[in-house]
Symmetry: C2
Subunit: 144 residues, 2 copies
């Protein structure tokens, strides 16, 4: 039973390779991200980090989130109203289905869709560097 969700990528290595320093705050934040199953927002990460080292600032959490997002190590989900929530990317790329009632995020991947995207881009004279596909959906049979 192979489960992609259990992989713990070595972010420190990735960061080092990208020429980015491993600092105490960053290590703590990375630990939190790799050891959680939920999709915490910046404030929640800040609180958890504060329990380990109460000198960490919220700014640093935000800065680290932006850094990791640019590296592709995490995904940001922005819900209308509430704060952005984050989750670690699991190695390869996934697309997302977001439950607009609960905020739950389901990862999926469709080889067919990826292929169609390539075709479309090529026909427009482009090569895809990366992409984002998000389906905002509602559970079928939901007693509204």
């Amino acid at each position: 039973m192979k489960n992609i969700m259990n992989q713990k990528p070595d972010y420190e290595k990735e960061l080092r390779n990208a020429g980015i320093r491993i600092t105490r705050p960053r290590r703590i934040i990375l630990d939190i991200l790799t050891s959680t199953e939920d999709h915490p927002d910046a404030m929640k990460i800040f609180h958890r980090a504060s329990e380990i080292d109460d000198s960490i600032s919220l700014s640093t959490v935000y800065r680290t989130m932006n850094l990791l997002e640019e590296m592709g190590a995490i995904h940001r989900h922005a819900f209308s109203g509430g704060p952005s929530r984050f989750e670690q990317a699991h190695g390869e790329h996934h697309d997302h289905l977001i439950d607009i009632d609960t905020g739950a995020v389901i990862e999926f991947k469709s080889e067919k869709i990826e292929q169609l995207q390539e075709e479309i881009a090529r026909s427009l004279g482009y090569d895809i560097v990366h992409h984002r596909l998000e389906l905002y959906a509602r559970k079928i049979n939901r007693s509204s």
Copy 2:
């Protein structure tokens, strides 16, 4: 020579059909959006609107932007750091290919992809409410 970019959709009609009221602030904001070539942010729209009616509030600009975005009448481009910028969508829903070198946005639509999305959502027990597909790409043969 049909060019989608030159159509000026009748947003008032669309809004009315969606059961949404045409108020003075909304009419002014819609006029600004349909008569501009650039991609203004909320503050810029607010300033332009204020010149026409200085009682309009920034809140209303933001609220109207969210409303129009949900309707698919405009697109929001969020740049890291700066405020979101908006541009009118042209008629029906489109997906986007963003040139990561120039920031140019190309609209496209693939019936096949939309269909696959529906299938995926359904197989996960969901109905799609709306979706976002963005391809970040680079022109082929670009002398980097």
